[in-house]
Symmetry: C2
Subunit: 180 residues, 2 copies
DNA sequence: ACGACCATGTAACAGGTTACATGATTCT
DNA sequence: AGAATCATGTAACCTGTTACATGGTCGT
């Protein structure tokens, strides 16, 4: 149960709304920990009850009002306690990989099509991460080195995936040629 | 809901018990899709009810009896249907990465210790994958090229992680030196 | 003696997903 | 006219985890 800790880590640097957090989970941190807005609103509610975060209500015009959350001392203490405990082992759930493993049954054209789409997505993500990393490299305050590491992880991960995708493409194209 | 499909993919090549599958999920496929024995036994039960797998009861001496499952035609059809549908986006849950992102609050010694342990684990996994890959390269039948791709993914993933870990180590050691 | 391996399962609970609900503004 | 963005939430449902339960063999 450490969605709460991921949220606390994000709130360490900035005041944010549930919506803001959902965006971050969809982008940068999403590679490492993902969550939908429903989960996030729920967890923010609990964290607030337990005094680990506080919020202020911000009315806006043209847009719906929002709640800006920030971490409390209690929240920071909880984070520190969690950081000391050994991390739960990493888990992955990658359906496309399962497909490749079962590739003999699939038809190669469809898989190639899907591969192309995923390559496209990963390349975009890679470009985003690289742009963000360059931004961070220019300004170096407190936590930025650690944020930079998160981005580096994202970059290395995309690169590894793309290299692998090329190997997959070769095998699929080969399978295709031998069918004719 | 595609634990069922991961199981069907594994059963494509071989007859296996729930226990066998659990071992595979813990090792090779685990990097890509993880599941505990409880989940697996439950899912095998459902798959059996729906005639997607069948099993034969195998008495053993010295060891408990086991059920060896194999995929049925219906199961294979279901797999093919699933392979045609676009895969659900990959999800990750890596608590250690979240820790690194919140690194400013953590004490570097503890994180370095944990990093060392994880590096150790990943190196072992890498060695395993490489050994398995070499085995597969010698024998090349039907599905082995796709199994090989799965292993390649594992290998590239470990390598990328280890490269990243070195960057993390540098930052942590640096933080440590500046504290004194 | 003690732990690891083989082998299967049930039950309670926590976590996560999908569907539903609302509504103004801005871009295409 | 339609889709996307901002912004919050509830409820039903499905999935996944943790705890419990059993018991023989083999290696150290």
């Amino acid at each position: 149960m450490s969605l709460r800790h991921a949220i606390l880590v994000l709130l360490q640097d900035e005041e944010a709304s549930g919506y803001d957090l959902a965006r971050e989970f969809a982008n940068s941190i999403g590679l490492v920990w993902n969550a939908t807005h429903q989960q996030i609103y729920l967890e923010l509610g609990k964290l607030n009850e337990q005094n680990m975060v506080h919020y202020r209500h911000v009315p806006q015009d043209g847009k719906p009002d929002k709640k800006l959350y920030r971490i409390t001392d209690e929240g920071r203490q909880e984070l520190v306690r969690w950081l000391r405990r050994p991390a739960a082992p990493a888990r992955v759930r990658d359906a496309f990989m399962v497909k490749v493993a079962g590739g003999a049954l699939a038809d190669p054209e469809t898989l190639l099509g899907e591969l192309d789409q995923l390559v496209q997505q990963r390349k975009e993500r890679l470009a985003n991460f690289e742009a963000e990393a360059r931004k961070l490299e220019r300004q170096s305050e407190g936590n930025s080195r650690f944020q930079h590491l998160t981005l580096r992880r994202g970059i290395l991960d995309q690169e590894a995936w793309l290299a692998w995708a090329e190997e997959v493409r070769e095998v699929l194209e080969d399978t295709l040629n031998h069918q004719h």
